[in-house]
């Protein structure tokens, strides 16, 4: 009986491991003192999806989550817009190092966060439908404009239970939050 229980447990672990096909990568500059970063600006995100508002939605979640952590103060997005207009930033989703430095002077921030939304919306696998999101985020320090932290996360998609039981997976908002949470976990390690 004991043996059977162990076998079942092992099988469940393996099953869970097989289900967790989501991947995430992170880079964290070991030479950077992240303690000095107090204020950040979240730049508009590059949207590579069909959903027009994906970038804004993910950015808004990231902005709120950053404030929610209490560790960083994120400049209001309207202020960021004002900054990019004043700095005449060509592409606010991917500012050059020089533009980063210039923006920092206007926004008075220690770092700038850029990102890209690669997946946002429903995916279909056979008859199963589920939401998926794939986000990558970079943090650029404003002294030189170099990347000091980078992370990405993909959440959602058609899982085992979705295939088995249907149901369409988690709502878009939920997986967006999860993806952002996972990304920020890599920042505040």
């Amino acid at each position: 009986m004991e043996l059977l229980r162990h076998i079942i447990l092992l099988a469940m672990v393996l099953l869970l491991g097989a289900c967790s096909g989501r991947s995430s990568n992170a880079f964290r500059d070991q030479n950077m003192d992240f303690g000095v970063i107090q204020n950040v600006a979240v730049m508009p995100m590059a949207n590579h999806t069909r959903e027009q508002s994906a970038g804004d939605r993910v950015r808004d979640v990231l902005f709120n989550k950053l404030l929610y952590t209490g560790g960083l103060y994120a400049v209001p997005l309207g202020e960021v817009k004002r900054g990019t207009m004043r700095a005449a930033t060509a592409d606010a989703t991917a500012p050059s190092p020089e533009e980063v430095v210039k923006l920092a002077g206007i926004l008075k921030v220690d770092a700038i966060i850029t990102g890209a939304v690669k997946e946002y919306g429903e995916v279909r696998s056979g008859n199963a439908v589920a939401n998926v999101i794939s986000v990558s985020v970079q943090m650029l320090e404003t002294q030189t404009g170099r990347i000091i932290w980078s992370a990405s996360s993909t959440k959602g998609g058609v899982g085992f239970s979705d295939r088995l039981l249907g149901g369409g997976g988690d709502p878009m908002n939920v997986i967006t939050e999860k993806a952002i949470d996972e990304i920020l976990d890599k920042l505040f390690i």
Partner: protein, 1308 residues
Amino acid sequence: MRSSTNYSYKAGRIQRAWLLGIVLCAGIADTSAAAETATLRVAVLPVGNQSGKTVPVNDLREMLIRGLEEQGAAVLADAENEQFLARHRVRFTGGLDRATAEAYRTETGVDAVLISSVDLYGEHDPPRIALFVRLVSTASEPKILWFDSVGLTGKDAPGLLGLNRINDPKKLLEKIQLLLFGSYAEYHHGRKSVPAVRTTFEPRAAFRSSVIGSDLRENYVEFVESRSSGEETVKYARIAVSLSRPSGRTASVEYLMSGGSAVEGRDFICKDTRLTFKAGETLKYIDIRIMRDKANTEQKTITLVLKAPKNALLGETRVHTYSIIDVDPEPAVSFTTKHQKVKETAGRAVITAELSALSGKDVTVPFLVSGTAKMPGNYFITPSPVVIKAGTKSAEIVLQVADNGVDEDDRTVVVTLGLPVNAVQGRTATSTVTIRDVDPEPSVSFVQEGSRIDGQRGTARLEVALGAASGKPVTVEYEVTGGTAEPGKDYALRGGSLVFAPGETTKAIEIDIRGAAVHDDDRNVEVSLSRSENAGLGGVRKHSCTLVNPIPAPAISFLTRRTRGDERTGTARLEVGLSAASGKPVTVGYAIAGGSAVQGKDYTVHGDALTFAPGETGKVVELTIRTFGVYDDDKTVDIELKGPRSATLGEVPLHTYTIVISGSSLQAEDENAGDGAGMTAMNAQQPGPAAAQEYTTPRKGAGIPIIPMPAVAFTSRETRGDERTGTARLAVGLSAASAKPVTVAYAVSGGTAVAGTHYDLQDDTLVFAPGETHKHIEVRIKGDGKNTEQKTITLVLKAPKNALLGETRVHTYSIIDVDPEPAVSFTTKHQKVKETAGRAVITAELSALSGKDVTVPFLVSGTAKMPGNYFITPSPVVIKAGTKSAEIVLQVADNGVDEDDRTVVVTLGLPVNAVQGRTATSTVTIRDVDPEPSVSFVQEGSRIDGQRGTARLEVALGAASGKPVTVEYEVTGGTAEPGKDYALRGGSLVFAPGETTKAIEIDIRGAAVHDDDRNVEVSLSRSENAGLGGVRKHSCTLVNPIPAPAISFLAQSLHFRKNAGVAKIAVELSATSRKAVTVPYAVGRAGQHAQGAPVMHGSLVIKPGRLSAMIDVELSEISPEAGEEVLEIVLSGPENASLGRIPVHRMTVISREHRPRIAVIPFMNVSGRKDAGDLLMLQFVKELSSLDDITVMEPGVVRDHLLGMRVIMYEGVSLSDIDLLMKTLDVDLILTGRVFDYQDYEAPGTTPKVEFSVLLFERTRNRVIWASKSYNKGNDGVVLFDWGNISTANTMVTEMARAVKSKLVTWE
């Protein structure tokens, strides 16, 4: 489903009466009218349509009008309303701006405007309606009076089998009317329902700044002041920390000691590290235990820094410096030894300056060096000042003693303390080091044993030297102990003494050399040294000074080269003479050197040598000529002088005598010489006898010798002899013997000698007997017993008889004076005179009368000073020839100064024409008869500014004194504290002779704090060389210059919650005082102080040394009914202080916190739903308006500003826009956000979906204090069978906004 929230302004408290208040405030109606009119006059604006569908807005408006009228409101007629809207071109009816509100009130008289909008409308499947309604006042600042929304569908409550489903839109509208005006009725009757918050609709992620209170304002914690101070005697230092406003939650802040010169544990103890403000508290104190170090130290500081605040932000004053004022007196510094002795070979001596107690400051000790020792000859010393380092107790003054190898007295080095810095003078302020001399006495001796000196008149110097320099005066006596020279004749020197001044190594004994008149042997004087003082006698104690006679030996010679005589002459006398008289016998030999005559046949020669006695100048060689009486040739005899002793051979050492027999030699001479001029010339060269020979010379051409008339003449032109000779014999000779007696008269014709005085001689006649050829005139020379010049007698021959006058008819005899020079002495060795006597006389007297003027030089020395004590006849005085004395007159001056007796020592110099006598020194003692002066303070009291410095108490003598006057002084009383207020120990003043004023210097420490004036009483005692005068005590008042401190409140205003119990209001002094400060205070309501009747009053006392105290105000006694009460605490009429910068404190007692103003601006809409941003805005306005403590701006006013300011929001509002809006709207908070989804009920099977984020900005720091993200669907709240489902976005947003509001306000 009814899921709305209504808002009524001040619901529950103010019912309809609020309107009356508004009317009164607006001034649009008088009080009586307002009192009569209890009906609310309302204008209903057209219903806005935000649904995107066709809506029967008129029906809805009529429904609203009906509802209002049913509730008793008076609705403005449509026509009038439309006219107003047209007149004012009001196109936007979704809000009410200030101008429109004002116009409504003034033009139509309405009290409020009803504003409504529809955001959902559908008539079928099922019917659905959602709308917002709000009542806004027409006051100058439009206020939302009531706000509600409702969203319903026909299937919200279908009931069993759908029996309750509503399919008719009118019925649904009636239900909505019922709900809305039910809400209005609650407001109207002052009731308020508080719907529960459904957790399902809470925001998903929310950030709320931890530093905001329930009023949503940021709270700051900071020090009340950045600096404070207190004396170290206070037990605790209290440093006030304040919160900017009362907080509804507990706030705390950490503090730490970040620096300062004070050391924790030693100077202070601070146990806690955190201050906690309980809810409602705004002032707390950090208590620091101050530890007194009991050492005089610099002021110390403690620097505190606030950090890590919780539930508050750090304010600007986050650093506080507390200064601990040291009050310990300065330690006393003294020397450890009063006296010590060291040998000069010891190398060093140490004088230690020691503190009475350890000091925390460096103590600088200046000192003065005096005494008899000299630097660098005797010592080197550490230069002044020395420093006693903080924490050490002593410092050394090192005396490097120098061994100078000089015999001298013991020397002293006296080190006297100056006024030390950071310390006072101690008891032993003087330390004396005696340097004992160990060098032997030097020897004194002549430099050489003998010397030779030219015996001409002048001065011989016999050098006497010390073996080594001495630091003491060395005296050695000398005297003449032998020698061949005659004192008084050859030289003048009496015994005496030489005095070597300190450092002098050579002196000379001077011998006055008289000079020799005649050739003589060298003489010598032997001088010996004896009886030395401060030196031993060296090896060469005797010195022989040889006086070398400079007169050359005289020349001895025949007076003529040749003479002649006939054979009848008998004896031929050949004159030999000395060129000058000699002081010793002169001998010369002679012998026949040739000639034609034969010795023994023709002549015989007598003797073979001549001896000249001293002084004798002439002798003859005698030849006896034999007379034969027969013709023959003339014969010659050559005689030569040789071997002279004590003389040299002169020019005529050979003489030829011719015996004239036939005169042949004469003829030959005539022929050869012509006229015999050579003979005459020779005779002319040889005075004396040669002249006599001339007349024997036969005349030219005479063949036979003729014996002519002899000539009578002196044998020499001059002779001399000393005055002791007795009788001088002046030789007169005949040129040839005569058979007849020859007479010749003689007489004194001149000379300097006085007949009868210097000689006796009568004019007389000299008689030569026949054959006699020589006679003498005898002159009796008389000695005068005086030292005089040489004198002369001139005799002349005249009136010869039986002879002719020869050539040498005048003779001068010189009387050489041999009397020694008299000695000149003072008649008195010592004499005493009173300084009032006027004069004293010192007589210089000769031992014997002198024929010469005697010049007596003298030196004046002694302790008396000229002209202060005397005047004296200038040197030299002259004793006139023939007189015996001269007076040196001393005019004694009475200077009126008490002083020691003074001496005038007159010492003889070397007199001219006399020698020093026995008493060569005469001392006159001038006895002082002046009384002692009195010594006293110049005045009885003085006042001096008590700042750090020096007070000088002048002490004066009644009259100047010639003696050093000493008077002791000491502190005998006074209120000032020694060491703290001043530094002065007992001591003494020394007036140098002549000095009449001195000052006692008191080192004033300077007052650090305000206090009464203090005084020091100093008394004089025990004077020396003076009496104590009348003013023996002096009271020096140290005027405290520190002004009374200013008393003031620490803070100008503070807030207190009414339930805080006791409010402690800090009152502080600008500086500590030694006097207790009392200040009455009165607590009263603001602005009512002038009317008296304070709430409470009292008197506050700040103890000496303390900086602050607290006024306790019992808050429970203050105005219980008012929500916010401002009290003033007024300080007045302080004692020992003045009123400072904050004499009035405003204390705000609040029962409810300040109502912040908030503006909600439209959300940025990124959803597909038109007007979603405005709908979110309205929802939050509605929810926030339900809060009692917040004033929400009417959206119409906000919109007006947004348009007026041309605020364009790209991707949201920027901080500069926020700042601008906050200032223009005068709001504390701005709420905005983004809406991403706003999906309403579309069709059966669909559910509404809303997603938005919210940002709240705070004015003070212009930062986000709230951020949240909310998203929900209508069915999120479904529990079972569609139970809990929400069918309209309006209702769902209401729930979501309510949840946000709830979290925002009550976070904890």
